[in-house]
């Protein structure tokens, strides 16, 4: 403590010679001018300055900002010579995450971003930065890119070992543009998954599969997409034309909605409309999609860790009934996609999990070129979205595993508690059933995987249809439904619990649904119970 009070921070040195960069605190410790470096064991290293001292002095504003700088526990980062911030060494990972959440940060030097991402060391943060560096090197030196990747691959695999991320041997697999099948328009990219993996074995391979067969899995992204049809991009246009090298056919959002009316997931679309007129939003509304216009949500999407944001998104989705329609306006479609990528991160939480993300790019008012919008950039934006999603799933998993009593147990107790079933609690319960249970179920899907997951999807779809049909008739007397819903919820939770048993959780399930017949039996049983 004595030493701390004797240190007088005078400025910083930027050994890299360019900003933004981590910078070295320079100051006076007692009578000695010193630099404060970091030892490899993460402890501070106080370096006496023997010769002439050269450093960038801090102006009054910076000095005031850094008045509480603790040279033993804090570090400095400079955005420019006159824009310097300190952060706690103990919270370095969080600080780097916050920097990286800004896609424009250190845009000219992706390797600074990568060095921070390596410190964070999660797939959702690190892999996009790896791809960003590869894209950068692809333009500068494709030879070096291949060499560099061959050295980075094992290193990054090690950093992500706990996530079992498997990077492709061939660097081109990172950069390969998504193959666009114009016959499948208007779906620009449909990342289908076989839902065949337990969460723990998600990361079979970080590759796009581009097989040209007619199977529904032509294009799928195995690793992060644990729930089928999770992501789609819909390009709307009013006439056949070509945009960004993609042949478009005459399709509208109404057509899309109509054609997917039987899709069990469609109620939970998140629709993001970019474009130049509000037309697409209004027409989507006319199709029954509830409108949610939150332009500011995107602008704040980097603040996903703030408590404010958690509350806000809960409120938003708590009010949302049939569809969530997320609108964002931008003259730059690629910005929209980036924003959407961030948005995916926002909506992926244990309390809010959309079953499907539908990104609508509204080209109906399109005039002129979009120099930034290319197939590669779309591909890149999608990749980021998917990786963020994967990261969210992994976070969810860790939340479950960290909860000693088990998430399912908590919710089971809550749902069956007298306060939840009281008249005052009905509205809460209704919301819980509509959102939390669905969320829980979807997380259960992440664990269940494979055939099991698909059956659960069917079951949950039935539940949702019941709820929504009821909601569409006005304000229903939920009392008559509540018991059966409660029972069904119990059943779903048992199923989810069962999947958790397989993950080593100690929650005991007394029932396991494994076949279609089991599902039918369960529904029958529920119907009997309700009767």
């Amino acid at each position: 403590v004595t030493i701390k009070h004797e240190f007088d921070l005078l400025g910083h040195d930027c050994p890299l010679g360019e900003y933004p960069a981590p910078v070295t605190p320079v100051g006076r410790l007692g009578d000695q001018m010193v630099y404060i470096y970091v030892n490899e064991d993460d402890t501070p290293h106080i370096q006496d300055v023997l010769d002439d001292v050269t450093y960038t002095p801090h102006n009054r504003v910076v000095n005031e900002t850094l008045a509480k700088f603790d040279f033993l526990n804090d570090r400095l980062f400079a955005f420019s010579a006159d824009s310097v911030v300190s952060y706690s060494a103990a919270r370095e990972v969080q600080f780097f995450e916050s920097l990286l959440s800004d896609p424009h940060f250190a845009g000219r030097n992706p390797f600074i971003r990568l060095s921070f991402a390596k410190r964070v060391a999660t797939p959702g943060v690190l892999l996009p930065e790896l791809e960003r560096c590869l894209s950068y090197l692809a333009e500068k030196s494709s030879d070096f890119m291949a060499l560099w990747y061959s050295k980075e691959r094992p290193l990054i695999s090690t950093l992500l070992a706990e996530y079992r991320v498997k990077l492709p041997l061939d660097v081109q697999q990172f950069l390969r543009p998504l193959i666009w099948d114009s016959k499948r328009a208007p779906v620009l990219s449909a990342f289908e998954a076989k839902v065949a993996h337990l969460c723990g074995t998600l990361a079979d391979s970080y590759v796009y599969h581009t097989d040209t067969s007619d199977s529904p899995y032509d294009f799928y992204f195995e690793a992060p997409n644990v729930v089928g049809h999770q992501f789609r991009t819909f390009v709307e246009c009013k006439a056949t034309s070509q945009a960004v090298g993609i042949d478009l056919i005459d399709r509208s959002v109404e057509t899309w909605v109509r054609e997917h009316a039987q899709d069990p997931f469609r109620r939970y679309w998140i629709v993001s409309a970019a474009g130049f007129t509000p037309d697409a939003m209004h027409r989507a509304q006319q199709c029954g999609i509830e409108l949610l216009t939150l332009d500011n949500l995107v602008s704040r999407s980097n603040r996903i860790t703030s408590p404010f944001f958690v509350e806000e998104r809960s409120a938003i989705f708590g009010k949302t009934g049939k569809f969530a329609f997320f609108a964002h306006r931008s003259d730059q479609p690629i910005e929209l996609l980036k924003a959407t990528a961030a948005y995916v991160d926002v909506v992926q939480s244990p309390s809010v999990i959309p079953s499907q993300l539908l990104v609508v790019l509204d080209f109906s008012g399109w005039k002129g070129d979009f120099p930034d919008l290319t197939r590669d950039s779309l591909h890149s934006a999608h990749t980021q979205a998917l990786l963020r999603y994967q990261n969210s799933v992994l976070k969810m998993r860790s939340i479950f595993e960290a909860n000693e009593s088990g998430y399912a147990t908590v919710w089971r107790n809550y749902l069956l508690s007298p306060e939840c079933l009281s008249s005052d609690g009905r509205e809460n319960l209704r919301r819980v059933l509509k959102w939390q249970v669905r969320a829980r179920l979807n997380v259960g899907l992440c664990y269940a995987g494979g055939e099991m997951a698909e059956r659960l999807v069917t079951l949950s779809a039935k539940l949702r249809r019941e709820l929504l049909a009821e909601a569409s008739t006005g304000t229903p007397p939920l009392t008559t439904r509540i018991d059966s819903l409660r029972k069904e919820t119990q059943l779903l939770l048992r199923v989810a619990s069962e999947t958790m048993v397989s993950e080593g959780n100690e929650i005991v399930a007394d029932r396991l649904i494994t076949t279609d017949s089991d599902i039918d039996d369960a529904i029958t049983e529920l119907a009997d119970l309700a009767a």
């Binding site: 010769d51 390797f111 030879d143």
Partner: protein, 265 residues
Amino acid sequence: MSHSTLDSAISSIASPSPLPMALPIVHVTSARGFRGIVDTGALLPTPCSVFGEDVLYFFYGGGFYRPRNHQTKNREELPVALLFDPSLLAGEARFYPCDTGALGSGRICCKAATDLEPFRERLKVDGHGDPDVPCKMVSHLFGDNGRYLRGEVDPDCVNKPDPFPVIYELLTTDLTGSGIDHRQSVLECQMLTPISLREHLLWVGFPETLTGAFADLYELTKPTVPEYHYYRAHVNFNPAQIAQQLQDRAADVIRRFEALPGSTR
């Protein structure tokens, strides 16, 4: 009183055959100057207060880790190391058997240092474009490359002509009190003309955040591209530890030369 020079002393005695293999030389600069060097495509001599002229410094055999006796303030800089093929020694160069920066700054306070004055002349060995010159210095001062790289001075130096005995004394005197360790016994190579990066470059060590600059260097040096090693730079690590790390990695490259048979001329 006139003293003989190291150059004349080496010429006066027979050199063993084969000579030790010529080793790579390393230039250490600061990270902040790396992009400029790549943009220039060459290393340029810089003003030197010890010699009063523009000089480009290299360490023969790569022993560049010098925590306190470096002649510049580079110990407070994040280092970038460039390792060059010994073929570069075929250019004009001059050699010294020790760190002239430490001698010139007066930080080496011992009788041997005093006896070697004027060290700029007495210790200088002209290269004359002959790559064997540093090999001969290694042979006479250390015996072989292995001993040189381990900093083991040959005790037989005391039986050789002046100034070998005094150099032996200097290189074996315990100077740790002055913050100078055995790595003082690294041959210094000086060049007075720019050195292109397009040729001879074997290996580069740099901070990870400057990978983009290295990509440019890679393109510049094609098809004879250098190997590389980067160190983590998400924070500014202790430069001495980084320098040690770079030296260790450079040593992996240098060892390939150490084991090769030397010249039989």
